[in-house]
Symmetry: C2
Subunit: 196 residues, 2 copies
């Protein structure tokens, strides 16, 4: 519509997840308005992240070194591993400040429909870590959706007899309203009820 | 949290309009996952747009040349100018396929609170075009909000006696529901009612 360069920027932005044509246009116009330095800072940040960041050799977390800061932290409990799908999930668990063990980032969840099979995820590496390091508990923190649950079941099978395997509790969100809870969540909250 | 490079990318993405920390993180992780080429394509598109794109000398629209394609199009009605705030608004008007005149992009709307005064917008250029080119009608297509209306009033005053000045109609959106229309819009629709 305006110029090949603008059209190309809009097209590139549209490839980002959750960014439609409208939003991409809005972002492109914003970038046209800001200073050359501010736009360059974003372009450089993208290039630099691809240059510097890689996956931790141990746990699959993001790092700029061979091994990530969490794996290197000797104060953390080396006998517990929390398994998450993505690095972003690791952040969420860290934010709770309730967990002091290590992590293992799978890089996704099993989904035969999308062609994601066990060999595509960092599962063999997890089993190796569990056996080699005398891990006592593996907390499965994959998402509470279909692919996440399938992945948790698969991992529980593979880990049986090697370590205690636990799963995050399902139930009502804190601050939520019973009236608005869906049946599945409420059902889980019921079956998982605890003594007080 | 992960690495300085990731934190920096998230910070840069957060500067974009409508992108909060969560969304910025999601975008950053996406960029970490895609191929180096795909990420580079986005970084390059940002750099290139700042390099190539400038404002049309005539109307203030975005272009890669001195004068934009619309201003150069001899088939368009040279005696009508539609005034919009931003290049994106021009696209919206073009999409209707109802308008065949020229445009004038102000680069914003008057807003004393935000420090936007007449001298910050392309207003003198508009008056010059109207007088020099024998423009017969100026269609004010600034936004139907407070700053857009203020800008339209200001321009109508400045243009009085120089050309016919019109404003986009306010009223009920097509496909809308009378029951859900706000009072101001419904009031405008009433006072602007037309014979059928």
């Amino acid at each position: 519509m305006f110029s090949p360069a603008v059209d190309n920027l809009v097209a590139q932005l549209t490839r980002l997840p959750g960014i439609g044509t409208r939003t991409a246009q809005r972002l492109a116009f914003h970038l046209l308005r800001v200073s050359k330095e501010e736009a360059a800072a974003l372009a450089d940040a993208i290039a630099e992240v691809k240059e510097r960041v890689r996956f931790c050799r141990e746990c699959g977390n993001l790092t700029e070194d061979e091994v990530c800061a969490i794996c290197l932290d000797a104060r953390r409990d080396q006998h517990v591993i929390c398994v998450v799908e993505q690095p972003a999930d690791l952040i969420s668990v860290e934010r709770t400040a309730e967990y002091r063990g290590l992590y293992h980032v799978l890089g996704g969840a099993l989904s035969p429909i999308d062609g994601v099979e066990p060999s595509h995820l960092r599962i063999d590496e997890l089993l190796r870590r569990v056996e080699r390091n005398g891990v006592e508990e593996v907390v499965l923190a994959t998402n509470p959706n279909m692919t996440g649950e399938a992945t948790a079941s698969y991992l529980a099978d593979r880990l049986r007899g090697k370590a205690r395997v636990t799963r995050l509790a399902s139930g009502l969100p804190v601050g939520g309203d019973l009236e608005y809870a869906d049946e599945v969540t409420l059902g889980r909250a019921l079956s998982g009820r605890r003594e007080m």
